[in-house]
């Protein structure tokens, strides 16, 4: 449909214009976000109609590059991922207008908006591309533009380090994808068109290898443990609306890629399901544990992305398990839960990152331990952050619960099945329960310490509410969290065309899980009744209290005369019992200088929890690669004539090989 291409063009135009206005960042500050918003709105109608089950061919052109044709299509699966991209991009762009006012001294704003628009365009191309080459090109564009966005404050050494980590991690992932696509291309007669992949029958062994390649390649982008190393580095370094975009929707392109590749690989083997479930449980539990140990707000949120990607993988794992044993209930509810959680996570995670951005904008710090009492100073940000926190903990009546409930339903259904399915279901139930409990601990900590109590520093004391432009996106996202929480059964029905794509149209038609829908309706009813009851109770209490003596007093302090805000529990002390229990995994390092002498002057305490896979997997791996490669450093001597000789020799060798 023309509208979608028009929207892409519009976004691209915005990118170009912001690049042209290189010397006038003030133009780009307004113009670029407006084009992003308008472009997203323009693309909304075709995406919605595709979501309802209409497959829309966008573009089909022969091109001069090898491996097939330039094909773009919008089917329900693409549309499901496109919807959050459009919504979150538009809101993040709107937020950006306020966020970069006044214009920051560090970083170039027109370059920033160029990369922002490019990122949005490339994400949309990634999910609509139907050719491996086009997909990889868009994928690379997406990685590069987000890399430059992460580097916005490149004067900071930490930011540069984070950028490099991201660049290297994402390219390792891309390398696996390259092999993945070439493998599929070789099996389907030299073309990289997705249409040809679906038809080609793969040997079980080849399909298994391809699945593992996709798991590593796409898993690096999505943030599966232990491939997640770049997330906790890149998200805190990027400007907050970019973190929202990257964590909310960009990492989901990894999930999209994984789900799309499942449609190429034929009927999955049961062990694929086990791999996904193991990765999901591992990422979920460890993600939330590492989040608990953090005291940098955006780092904490980044680890929660790992946790939620884990939950999504649990849902997908059950779905794959269902595909392998032809169980329609598992297929439907597993994929529905996983994919619905993709949308939900996009909403509440971008809400939380934008909220974190407002806190950062207003106080200048991301350090949870020195904040406090912000709810009184920033009521909109605080209240929406609370809604996001409840949603991400998967608590009713918000959207996080609805999607987790679908995954729970799938696993409860699998309990009574034969074979490994019941164990798989039990694993999912146990992991989700543990993740849920720990997430409550983490977000009561984050919300409670930042927004409640008394301010712990001057920064927090002087906080102020941000402007309407930054407040409005928060309210919209919070509203979506509430609405999707109550419309779970409708979503379950609406996901049918998407699941039909994932399950493959050639297989038996999937029956709709009526029992699950009925359960979700009852949950919606219970939630609404609960809200009514709450209103009633509020009314009753206000009637009860009318005319009574209601006084304000300081908090009970056991009769201590001079309490200070510093005596409050901090985020680190709040999480201490849990981090202590999981010490062998977290290995939190503490630096403590105790007060000494009769008149102690200064003492300090700080903790740091570095990443498990970074310390144990990547640093040793890269260390040994570097040691090995340093032997070849002798060739890198700087003498140009010898370099040219090398090139010449290689060419001659290739020529001889070809002529042989």
């Amino acid at each position: 449909m023309l509208l979608f291409l028009l929207a892409l063009g519009f976004l691209f135009l915005g990118a170009l214009v912001s690049l042209i206005s290189w010397r006038h960042p003030a133009w780009a500050r307004i113009f670029a976000p407006v084009t992003v918003i308008l472009g997203s709105l323009l693309a909304l109608p075709p995406v919605l109609s595709a979501l309802l089950g209409k497959e829309i061919p966008l573009l089909e052109l022969p091109w001069s590059l090898p491996f097939g044709s330039l094909t773009m299509r919008l089917d329900p699966l693409s549309a499901l991922f496109a919807l959050p991209i459009l919504v979150v991009s538009a809101l993040a762009a709107l937020y950006g207008i306020g966020y970069f006012s006044p214009i920051p001294k560090r970083g170039n704003l027109s370059l920033y908006w160029f990369n922002f628009s490019t990122l949005v365009v490339s994400m949309l191309v990634v999910i609509t591309a139907r050719n491996g080459l086009l997909f990889l090109l868009a994928w690379e564009l997406m990685s590069l533009s987000s890399f430059f966005l992460v580097l916005f404050e490149k004067d900071d050494a930490m930011v540069r380090r984070a950028g490099w980590t991201y660049l290297i991690a994402t390219h390792i992932g891309t390398a696996f994808l390259l092999v993945f696509f070439l493998l599929l291309g070789a099996r389907s007669g030299g073309t990289l068109d997705f249409g040809a992949f679906t038809g080609s029958a793969l040997l079980p062994g080849t399909a298994g290898v391809a699945f593992l390649l996709a798991m590593v390649g796409f898993g690096t982008k999505a943030g599966f443990m232990p491939l997640h190393v770049w997330l906790p580095e890149a998200h805190p370094a990027a400007p907050s609306n970019v973190s929202a975009l990257m964590s909310g929707v960009m990492i989901k392109t990894g999930i999209y890629g994984l789900v799309r590749s499942l449609t190429f690989l034929g009927t999955p083997a049961p062990w694929w399901g086990w791999v996904l479930l193991a990765v999901g449980a591992f990422s979920g539990v460890l993600g939330v544990l590492f989040a608990l140990a953090q005291h940098d707000l955006k780092r904490l949120l980044a680890y929660h992305s790992v946790e939620n990607i884990g939950i999504i993988a649990l849902g997908l794992g059950l779905g794959v398990f269902g595909l392998s044993c032809h169980n329609p209930l598992l297929i439907y509810l597993g994929f529905a839960g996983g994919l619905f959680h993709v949308v939900n996570h996009a909403l509440f995670k971008s809400l939380l990152f934008l909220g974190a951005g407002s806190v950062l904008h207003s106080t200048g710090t991301r350090e949870i331990d020195i904040l406090g009492g912000l709810l009184k100073r920033m009521p909109t940000t605080g209240t929406t952050f609370l809604i996001g926190s409840v949603a991400i903990c998967g608590l009713p009546p918000l959207n996080g619960f609805a999607s987790e409930f679908m995954i729970y339903l799938a696993s409860l259904g699998s309990l009574s099945m034969k074979g490994g399915a019941s164990t798989a279901g039990f694993l999912v139930i146990g992991s989700l329960a543990l993740i849920g409990g720990l997430a409550v601990a983490c977000f009561t900590k984050a919300f409670g310490v930042i927004f409640l109590g008394e301010p712990r520093s001057e920064e927090a004391e002087g906080a102020h509410e941000t402007g309407k432009l930054m407040g409005f996106p928060l309210l919209v996202l919070a509203g979506f969290c509430a609405i999707l929480g109550l419309t779970g059964p409708l979503v379950l029905k609406a996901l049918a065309p998407v699941i039909a794509v994932v399950a493959g149209s050639g297989r038996e038609a999937l029956p709709f899980p009526y029992e699950g829908a009925a359960a979700l309706w009852k949950i919606t009813g219970a939630s609404l009744a609960g809200a009514l009851l709450l209103a009633l109770l509020l009314f009753i209490r206000s009637r009860l209290m009318a005319g009574r003596n209601v006084t304000a007093a300081p908090t009970w302090d056991c009769g201590y005369i001079a309490p200070t805000a510093k005596m409050q529990y901090t985020a680190s002390s709040f999480a201490d019992p849990i981090t202590r229990l999981f010490r062998p995994l977290l290995r939190t390092r503490k630096r403590f200088t105790p007060p000494s002498g009769l008149f102690p002057s200064s003492s300090s305490f700080s903790t740091e929890t570095s990443d498990l896979s970074r310390d144990w997997l990547f640093e040793p791996m890269f260390g040994s690669i570097e040691r090995f490669l340093s032997r070849f450093r002798r060739i890198q001597h700087g003498r140009l004539n010898l370099y040219i000789l090398c090139i010449l020799l290689t060419l001659v060798a290739l020529l001889l090989w070809k002529l042989r």
Partner: protein, 308 residues
Amino acid sequence: MKSWLFSLVMLVLGFIGAPLLPGIINKTKAFFAGRKGQPLLQTYRDLAKLLRKGAVYSSTTTWIFRSAPLIGLVCSFAAMVLLPMAGGSGLLSFAGDLILFSYFLGLMRFFTVVAALDTGSSFEGMGASREVLFSALTEPAMILGLATLLRATGSLSLSGTYVKMTVESWRVAGPAFALVLFALLIVYLTENSRIPIDDPDTHLELTMIHEVMVLDYSGPDLAFVFYSSSLKLWLTGSLVVNLLLSPLKTTPLLTVFAFLGGMALLAVIVGVLESAMARLSLLKVPQLLLGATTISLLAFTLVVRFLP
């Protein structure tokens, strides 16, 4: 009798009877300590007294602190609606209702904890910190225990599993059920902050967990908090009592009496336990809770292995 009418009657009985449970526990403890103790109906009197009072709010607090007791009450009401009692099903029951049941308790906990942090008191922060650790460890024990029951009875809902449970299912899956019973008992003690996890009668803020989180409440709000915790005693207690009494399929009246008797007996057992032993050291509690989760896991393994 129509089944929904029976559920409704049981629900009303639960709402009326819940505050009796703390009274029974206290009376038992008084008996063991050789005291006369407070009257059995003391909780009702406390509630009535508190509802008639004004309130003092800390000037640090926000609307979170004021709404938390009401949200907690709504959550426990909602969980009561889902709860099957005395061999009947809950007023509302559906596939996966145990998840909603336990997540409503989670929502209540979220707001209790956040409200405690709202006061800015380090005592309440300390209690909140311990509460989230213990509850994060009990949640898997409870959900996995209940999931084991679901697997053993081949049903998808909490009500379904207790309705379907017969003497035969106890005969077949007895050991697993006994293990789940033990795990649920620990969940019951933890969720209600009883000895050996927490000591509700302690008078030192430093050592309390649940009680310290609600230190700053007064007046009607405190009444709501007390009533919610009585309901929680009823909610988690019913899970234990149902497991033992559900196989008893006799006349409705008899099952109701057996159920109420069971609830009272459970309260007496808690009283005996609290008189007989001291609270565990805080560092030991996680071991007990992880133990409960392991026991649920073991029960599931037994069920999967021996029940085709």
